[in-house]
Symmetry: C2
Subunit: 371 residues, 2 copies
């Protein structure tokens, strides 16, 4: 039985593909829209291999003003969107901010306009903990609760913040306009989730799905994975003079399966409880330093991975550890996998797929799936 139909924008990307998988496993019908700018369509085959179900796929660029209209017209059953499509490199956003405003902000305005036109009621937005900025500027805000005042410190974060306000203003207006028109049933159909997450990590335990960044990765774990496979000589640790236990920055690494499950829970919550717009942190509540991550992944790999200390990056902050209490209470969600599992799953994926999705996984992994 299909419980609902969902469009996943950016659905061939890392978090998008795992969320598409989680939706299919929960009996949602899934349509993926992606421009394949930083991802491979091969991931759709892997989703099918694992779930036994194949999402529909549209190659759509989010900045194409009519792109989503075509998708919604072809799939009038879609009533919800989980929106990942975006540029996501903090450093690059400082060099090419207009690309980020164009793709992330204008692209999202496009999507919302199309949702309005086609009465697509629910949106789960892939926001980011980056919207909080440096939470240490406010007393008692580490670990960070959703109530922490927002204050992004880089263009990437500014674009996520702008989309959060656009979604909030849009959903509130749809509700108010319907209420004023005397249509309370229609009003409560419009809902939005702002999911602020922390650092996604790990891969599918089968070893056939994982993160496959095109070009140079910009997150710690994929970089460590490249060091482990010899693609990269060493990693750079950006700043060892932060006020943390070992001088390196603290982040909250969450297993990708826990994170994608959080998206599923948020969508279910919107559909069942009609909260209007609501923000939830998706994190473990436990912070790890860069050095601790290097050690944890080295343990999974079985040898010490080399690193070098480099200056802090502009826009980086000391500590982004979540307080996930609200998601626990309201969504009944909590993380179930450890950092060690994330490292082991990432290493299984990496060593078996050195070319990412550009080559087929080893036969023994595929055979294990069929059991």
């Amino acid at each position: 039985m299909v419980v609902g139909s969902v469009l996943v924008t950016g659905g061939t990307g890392y978090i998008g593909s795992f969320t598409a998988l989680a939706l299919l496993e929960a009996d949602y019908k899934v349509v993926i829209a992606d421009n394949l700018f930083n991802s491979s369509p091969e991931v759709i085959n892997r989703i099918e291999l694992i779930s036994g179900k194949r999402p529909d796929f549209f190659q759509v660029d989010i900045t194409d003003s009519t792109g989503f209209d075509k998708v919604f017209a072809a799939h009038p059953d879609i009533d919800s969107v989980i929106h990942f499509a975006a540029l996501k490199a903090v450093g690059e956003s400082g060099e090419k901010p207009l690309d980020y405003y164009h793709v992330n902000v204008y692209g999202s305005i496009n999507l919302l306009r199309s949702m309005q036109k086609h009465n697509v009621y629910n949106i789960v937005f892939s926001s980011s903990a980056t919207v909080y900025g440096d939470a240490t500027r406010v007393p008692n805000m580490i670990p960070i609760p959703e109530e922490c005042p927002l204050g992004p410190t880089n263009p990437y974060g500014n674009t996520k913040f702008a989309v959060e306000t656009a979604i909030t203003d849009f959903i509130n207006a749809q509700r108010n306009n319907a209420t004023k028109a005397g249509n309370a049933d229609e009003a409560e159909k419009w809902n939005g989730a702002l999911l602020r997450y922390f650092n996604p990590a790990g891969a599918h335990p089968s070893g056939i799905m994982g993160e496959d960044p095109q070009g140079v990765p910009y997150n710690l774990l994929p970089l460590l994975a490249q060091v482990a496979t010899g693609k990269r000589e060493k990693i750079l640790v950006f700043g060892d003079d932060y006020a943390s236990r070992d001088g390196t920055a603290i982040r909250d690494y969450i297993h990708i399966l826990d994170l994608s499950n959080g998206h599923l829970r948020a969508l279910n919550y919107l559909r069942a409880n009609h909260p209007g717009v609501r923000a939830w942190n998706l994190g473990t509540g436990r912070g790890s330093t860069v050095y601790e991550m290097v050690k944890a992944f080295s343990t999974a790999v079985g040898r010490d991975l080399p690193y070098e200390v480099a200056p802090r990056r502009a826009g980086d902050v000391l500590d982004l550890t979540s307080n996930p209490t609200r998601a626990g209470k309201e969504l009944g969600w909590k993380t179930e996998r450890t950092l060690e599992q994330a490292c082991e799953d990432l290493w299984l994926w990496t060593k078996n797929n050195p070319q990412g999705y550009r080559q087929q996984p080893p036969a023994e992994l595929l055979a294990a799936l069929k059991k």
Copy 2:
């Protein structure tokens, strides 16, 4: 002698047209781009009548991704933009927020992308005091200095805030990228002014240029003007239970000639001092309540204008009075005209142009101009 060439977006609108006039009077060459959605091309004739110079005009919609490219290609001498084009009704922004995000935010991203492509270095942005939101939430922030934390309370203000961050991120990136490339001279050419203003009021003392809103006006003074001419029976005072001296909301009304002069000063400052991105309040520093404004305009008209109290509007705040100290110190700018003059000039404009720009002004006003 022409001192520089400036594109004025929204240049046939109220503040835009007066700023175009101020630029021409200061020997700038002026190109106006406007979609004429809420304005009349007749204002260009009035600008010419007053200044003896005619701005060039392009009918451009800011959401046309190639519109500004055509303007900049036709006028390669343009090195600065004063950017007014936007939707501006707070109330409407709550009902149709996506129109506001599309026109104001996407339109501005479009403009910035085009400026980057054509090396147009300076932007003076028509922001709004609305970006401060309710300044009474922070201690000691009335009158409001530029350091007041931003926190808009309605979609219109959210779009102005998003454009402020886009401009800031863009100018900073252009500067950093040029600096990294070893080109310090190029770096300092990129500059931006964020002008946050308060409530523009009044008209040209000649009586032939003023505000001519199409449809229902949404600001107090144009509404009062319609009551004075009998187009409207009475005005609505939104809220008489604010914590002010007479219960009505406090705003800072600034004469349109002072405001347009502030734009000129800001542009001159960017070109002479290369500050990067800088925000300035343009206001008088003196707040007036709604009741005080009704009284002041009634005095100018010579009779009491009727009003009726209505509930507060969503998103409205108690007090938006500026602290204009920074603009005074840095731009050498201060307001020179009184509220009484604004009311008298508005009444002169209104009684002589009951159809706004849709009819020619009285011959005696035109004759007086020629003296």
